[in-house]
């Protein structure tokens, strides 16, 4: 029990004493994961819209594939990208292995299926009439697209949170692709893994609490935005 109490105290000390190392790790985590999810949103929306409204050969197979990719282990994504990005791999000339870009790529691939599937489900649940009405009223396809996006905003928000939750806390792919390099590719999850392997359990748990605390802040912010703007539009 002592270790849990000590960890909580340590977590708050790390957070509020402005410990530069801790904040650097936090910054790297959020920077890489935020860029990854920002890059994943546009293709995910396009794919989810095609799956929901399109009518093309192989559509159901694609849906099945994306649903299956929800359960791909992060380590497998990491290993596959590792082989592709390694100097002997097909993309070896770009020297991307052990960089933040490689970590971001892994996280991009991890959150893409979540975004696609959850947005697709939200679109299915939404009234198809929104799209058709907008189109009938003379809205362009782009305009109609945003109308529908507005209709499914809650589903969209949930998709973003689920996707972000997966990648910000993911350790397997980040460890493999980033290499846990101090000041460069060490994010919160890989730092936790490192502290654990050093036997510094209190520091490891403390970083975990830091991650949860920051997740709480992000969620609270989004909930605030959501609540204010949408109950009585």
């Amino acid at each position: 029990m002592d270790i849990l109490l000590a960890s909580c105290a340590e977590a708050f000390r790390l957070l509020f004493s402005g410990d530069p190392d801790t904040w650097e790790i936090i910054a790297i985590s959020f920077r890489v994961s935020s860029l990854a999810i920002l890059c994943a949103v546009p293709p995910a929306l396009v794919i989810a819209f095609s799956l929901a409204y399109g009518n093309f050969f192989g559509r159901r197979l694609l849906i099945l594939l994306f649903n299956t990719f929800l359960s791909v282990p992060a380590v497998v994504i990491g290993l596959t990208l590792f082989i592709v990005l390694s100097r002997q791999g097909p993309l070896g000339d770009f020297k991307l292995l052990f960089t933040q870009t490689a970590m971001g790529l892994g996280q991009f691939l991890l959150c893409l299926p979540i975004l696609v599937c959850m947005v697709h489900v939200a679109l299915q649940a939404a009234d198809r009439a929104a799209w058709e009405t907008a189109r009938t009223l003379g809205a362009s396809r782009v305009r109609a697209f945003f109308t529908v996006l507005y209709e499914i905003r809650f589903g969209l928000m949930a998709a973003l949170l689920a996707g972000y939750g997966r990648i910000i806390s993911e350790v397997g792919a980040s460890m493999m692709l980033g290499g846990n390099i101090a000041h460069y590719t060490r994010n919160i999850p890989t730092a936790i893994a490192l502290e654990t392997s050093k036997g510094a359990f209190a520091e490891g748990i403390a970083l975990g609490i830091v991650l949860l605390f920051l997740a709480l802040m992000v969620n609270a912010l989004l909930q605030y935005v959501q609540g204010k703007g949408s109950i009585n539009p």
Partner: protein, 273 residues
Amino acid sequence: MFHQLSRLSIALLFTLLASSPAHAADPALRLATTTSTANSGLMDFLLPRFTEVTGIEVHLIAVGTGKALRLGREGDVDVVLVHARRAEDKFVADGYGVDRADVMYNDFIIVGPASDPAGVADSNSVAEVFSNIHASEHPFISRGDDSGTHKRELILWQSADKTPSGSWYREVGQGMGKTLQVANEVDGYTITDRGTWLAYQSKLDIKLLYEDDPPLFNPYGIIAVNPARHTDINYSGASKLIQWMISPEAQKMIGEFKIKGQQLFVPSAVNGS
């Protein structure tokens, strides 16, 4: 809500772009080393001084010896610092690495239950330790991960003329810290490097039973990746790091590095110039 959200995401985007990493464009030197040197804090102690002297920034990647050598073979790192003499010699002989130099050594120790049912503490040689454990069939936890420590363990079984198998021999496939924890939970024996033991000791009930025997010494070698195989690796940086690691200054620092008052590594470079 959409306006607020888009304003929020634009602000976020700018924050992210503004905090662009300073490292991205640097031709940093990539050093793959073992968890024992990285997790003990030795490299954090040495490398800042190297960067100060040469201006070369080092990206440290801590993995097992097997993986470190593999990264070197594929040209994914520029230089490796590892401990598995046989594998290192093969690495150089196969043309993957050049300029190998001895840097230092630390030692392995045998730990296990305080009751010591196999009589490890009373053994007269490492071979006897391992044959006693084999005879007692008391649980032995093996790294089982192709790390330098695992390779050494297999050599020691060989030298005792025993083949470990059976339900008492458990390969966990994890790092040293985890392996010690498992050994502690099942009250079994294991072999560990001294650095990890010192870090974990206070949290464990198992005891140090056997130490200070030459077959347990663990030499570390530093090897540059062969520039003839991978033309665009940072060979000049690797050479500078090797030269510095065997210099009197670095050798002295290695000898001074302590955890909880105990020296972990003994400097052993022969041509410190």
